[in-house]
C-alpha cells in the first residue's frame, strides 16, 4: 500500500512539473506586458536616464524576455526568487515566513467546512423530495451567494464589534513572542507547552477560518448531495435494504463512502477557491499570511514579489491535486489494480 501511494504520488508530482513551468511562463510574460515601468518605483525622483539604464542592466531587464525567464527559472530552482522591491528582502524569505500561517488557516478552514458540510450534505440529501427540500436548497444557495470576504466582514461586525467576543486582528494577542519552530502556531505552542498562548492563537484563528469555511462549505454540500442522489439507485443499496440494514446505516456507512469520492475530487479542484478566499480574508483580519503579502505586493506594484507568490500558489495547487489524486486511488479500489 505504501509503495502504491509513493508511486502514484511521485508520478503525479513529476507530471505536474511541465505544468508548473508553463504556469511560470504565463505569469512571467503577463507581468512583463505591464504598462508601468517597474523601475519607476525603485529610483529616486532625481535619477538620470543613465541611472535608470544602470539599474535596468543590474536587474537584467535589458535582456530579451526569453533569457530573462531562463535566468529567473534557474535562480528559482536554487531557491532564489529574487528580491522584493518594496520590502527590500528576498522573496523566498518573505514567502517562507508567511506560508505556514496561510496553510494553517486553510487547513483549519477545510476541517471546519467538512464538519459543516458532511452532515449538511447528508441532510440536504435526506430532505430531497420532502417538504424540507425547498428551504434547505434555498439556504444552500444563499450561503453560496456570500463570498468569504463578505463572511469575514459580517463575522467581524457580529462577533468582533457588535458582540466583542473574539479577536479579529493578527495571529496571536499583543506581546506574545512568535515561537519560530514550524511556523504552525497551534503546533509550536503545544510543543512548547504554552497553553495560554495556544488559546490565544486558536481564538485568533476562529473567525478567519470560519469565514473561509462558510464560503467553501456550500460547494461541498451541493456535490455531496448530488453524489448521494447518484448512489440512491445503486444495487448495493437495495441489497443492504433487503438484508434488513437500517436506513441510517445504509446512508452513513455505505452510501456516504461511495459519495465521498466525487466530493474529494471537488475539494482538490476547488482548493484554489480556498487560497483565493484566503487572500482577502487574511487582508481583512491582518493575518500575516501569503495572501496578505500578495495584496500588499499588488498595492505596491512589487512585480518580483507578485511573481514569486503567484508561482508558489500554483505549485501548492499542483501538489494538492497530486495528493487528492493519490487519495482517490487509495479510496477507490477499482483504480488500484490498474495503478
Amino acid at each position: 500500500m505504501l509503495r502504491l501511494i509513493s508511486t502514484v504520488l511521485s508520478r503525479r508530482l513529476i507530471a505536474a512539473i511541465p505544468t508548473l513551468l508553463m504556469l511560470s511562463l504565463i505569469v512571467f510574460v503577463v507581468l512583463r506586458l505591464i504598462p508601468a515601468d517597474p523601475l519607476a518605483m525603485m529610483l529616486p525622483p532625481n535619477a538620470t536616464p543613465a541611472d535608470a539604464a544602470l539599474l535596468r542592466h543590474q536587474l537584467g531587464l535589458d535582456k530579451p524576455i526569453p533569457s530573462q525567464f531562463l535566468i529567473w527559472i534557474v535562480n528559482a530552482l536554487h531557491g532564489n526568487l529574487g528580491a522584493s522591491i518594496s520590502f527590500q528582502q528576498p522573496v523566498a524569505t518573505l514567502i517562507g515566513s508567511t506560508l505556514p500561517a496561510t496553510l494553517e488557516l486553510c487547513l483549519a478552514a477545510l476541517v471546519i467546512s467538512l464538519i459543516i458540510s458532511v452532515p449538511g450534505g447528508v441532510f440536504a440529501y435526506a430532505v430531497t423530495d420532502r417538504r424540507g427540500e425547498l428551504p434547505v436548497s434555498f439556504a444552500v444557495v444563499l450561503m453560496q451567494s456570500v463570498p468569504s470576504f463578505l463572511w469575514a466582514l459580517l463575522l467581524i461586525a457580529l462577533l468582533g464589534v457588535y458582540l466583542p467576543v473574539l479577536p479579529f486582528s493578527g495571529r496571536v494577542g499583543d506581546g506574545i513572542p512568535m515561537p519560530h519552530l514550524t511556523g504552525f502556531l497551534l503546533i509550536d505552542f503545544l510543543v512548547k507547552g504554552q497553553f495560554s498562548d495556544w488559546l490565544s492563537a486558536a481564538s485568533h484563528l476562529v473567525l478567519p477560518s470560519l469565514a473561509l469555511a462558510f464560503g467553501f462549505a456550500p460547494l461541498v454540500i451541493r456535490v455531496l448531495r448530488s453524489s448521494l442522489l447518484d448512489q440512491r439507485n445503486e444495487s448495493y443499496v437495495g441489497v443492504a435494504r433487503l438484508r434488513g440494514v437500517s436506513e441510517s446505516r445504509i446512508l452513513w456507512r455505505h452510501m456516504l463512502k461511495n459519495a465521498a469520492l466525487p466530493a474529494l475530487t471537488m475539494i482538490g479542484v476547488q482548493f484554489g477557491f480556498l487560497f483565493g478566499g484566503a487572500l482577502l480574508v487574511e487582508m481583512i483580519f491582518s493575518f500575516p499570511g501569503v495572501g496578505n503579502l500578495m495584496v500588499q505586493a499588488v498595492r505596491n506594484n512589487d512585480l518580483v514579489l507578485i511573481q514569486g507568490i503567484a508561482i508558489v500558489f500554483c505549485a501548492l495547487m499542483l501538489v494538492i491535486n497530486a495528493i487528492v489524486d493519490t487519495l482517490y486511488v487509495i479510496m477507490n479500489p477499482r483504480l488500484r489494480k490498474t495503478a
Binding site: V27, I156, F275, G276, L279, F313
Partner: protein, 322 residues
C-alpha cells in the same frame, strides 16, 4: 491508467454545475408506481420558485441600475459634512433626507447603492457575455472536432485551472492596470474555463446524436453544423452558465474594488463602499451592512435564476417536474 483519474475528474467537474440535471436511470424513480391521480401529479410538479424569485431580483437590480439618476435622492458623490455617519432614517438620530443614512464623508448610502448597481451589472453582463463567448467557441471547437484540437484546448483549460482564480485576476489586474474595462477583461480571461469545460462535455454528447450524423451525411459544412445543429442544443446550458457567471463576476468586481483595483476614486462601486465603511465600522455598522446586503442579494438572484433556468430549460427535467 495514467489518464483515467484525469478524465473522470473532467466529467466530475462538469457534473458539479450540472449536478441535479442527472436523470435517474432506474424506471422506478422516473415513473411513480402508483397511478397518477390529479393530486399527486400536482404534488410532484414543484413551482419554479427559484426561477421567478431569481428573475425578479435580477430585474429589480436592473431597474435600479437603469433608473439610478431618477431614483437616487442625492448625487452619490455629494458630501454633506454636517451629516456624517448618520444612521438609517428609521433609527434614532436618522434623517429622512438620507433613507439609509450616510457614510463617513456624509454621502448618501442609498444613492451610492443605486449608482453602484450600475457598475455591478455592467461588469456582470459584459464579463459573463465575454467569458461565455470565448469559452463556448473553444468548447464547441474542442467537442466537435475532437483529436488534437480537443487535446490542446483541454490542456489550456487544465493549465488555466491550476491557477487559483483570484491570484490570476490579481496578476492580470496588475498587468492591465486599474479601470472598469480591465476588470471585465480580467474576468473574461479568468472565467472562460467555467464555460469551456462544461459546454465541451455537452457538445461531445450532442455530437453523437443522429441529427448531427445526418447533417454530416448531407455534407453540410462544419461551420453550419456547429452553428445550426450543435449550438442550439448547447444553448440552454450556456444560458444557465451565463446567469451563474453574472453572480461570479459581481463577486469578483466587488472584491477587486474592495482592494482598490477596480474603479477610479470618483466612481461608486459596492466594493468601494464596503472598503470605506470598514474603516468606520466601530462607529457605524449600517454603512457596512447595506452594500454587503446589496451584493449578497444580487448574487443570490443570479444563482437562483441560474438554478431555475437549468431546470426550466432542460426538457428532461421539465417532464419530471423537478
Amino acid at each position: 491508467m495514467s489518464t483515467t483519474p484525469l478524465s473522470s475528474k473532467h466529467d466530475m467537474k462538469a457534473d458539479m454545475l450540472r449536478e441535479s440535471t442527472s436523470v435517474d436511470p432506474s424506471p422506478q424513480a422516473a415513473t411513480p408506481l402508483a397511478p397518477v391521480s390529479g393530486k399527486s401529479a400536482r404534488v410532484r410538479r414543484k413551482p419554479p420558485v427559484n426561477l421567478w424569485l431569481g428573475g425578479a431580483i435580477v430585474l429589480g437590480v436592473l431597474f435600479c441600475a437603469v433608473f439610478a439618476p431618477w431614483l437616487a435622492p442625492h448625487n452619490p458623490l455629494d458630501q454633506d459634512l454636517l451629516h456624517m455617519l448618520s444612521p438609517p432614517a428609521w433609527m434614532a438620530g436618522g434623517d429622512a433626507a438620507f433613507p439609509l443614512g450616510t457614510d463617513s464623508l456624509g454621502r448618501d448610502v442609498l444613492s451610492r447603492l443605486l449608482y453602484g448597481s450600475r457598475i455591478a451589472l455592467t461588469v456582470a453582463v459584459i464579463a459573463a457575455f465575454g467569458a461565455g463567448i470565448v469559452g463556448s467557441v473553444l468548447a464547441i471547437l474542442a467537442g466537435y472536432f475532437g483529436g488534437w484540437v480537443d487535446r490542446s484546448i483541454s490542456y489550456l483549460v487544465d493549465l488555466w485551472m491550476s491557477f487559483p482564480p483570484v491570484v490570476l485576476s490579481l496578476v492580470l489586474m496588475v498587468s492591465l492596470g486599474v479601470g472598469i474595462e480591465n476588470v471585465i477583461l480580467s474576468i473574461v480571461l479568468v472565467d472562460w474555463t467555467r464555460f469551456c469545460r462544461v459546454v465541451r462535455s455537452e457538445v461531445m454528447v450532442v455530437r453523437q446524436r443522429d441529427y448531427v450524423l445526418a447533417a454530416q451525411l448531407l455534407n453540410f459544412t462544419h461551420l453550419r453544423i456547429m452553428l445550426r445543429e450543435i449550438l442550439p442544443a448547447a444553448l440552454p446550458l450556456m444560458i444557465t452558465l451565463f446567469s451563474l457567471e453574472m453572480g461570479v463576476a459581481i463577486t469578483v468586481e466587488a472584491l477587486l474594488s474592495f482592494i482598490g483595483l477596480s474603479v477610479p476614486a470618483n466612481v461608486t462601486a459596492w466594493g468601494v463602499m464596503i472598503a470605506d465603511a470598514r474603516v468606520t465600522m466601530h462607529e457605524s455598522l449600517s454603512g457596512l451592512l447595506f452594500p454587503v446586503l446589496a451584493i449578497v442579494i444580487t448574487v443570490l438572484g443570479c444563482n437562483l435564476l441560474g438554478d431555475g433556468l437549468r431546470v426550466a430549460l432542460d426538457p428532461r427535467m421539465r417532464s419530471k417536474g423537478e
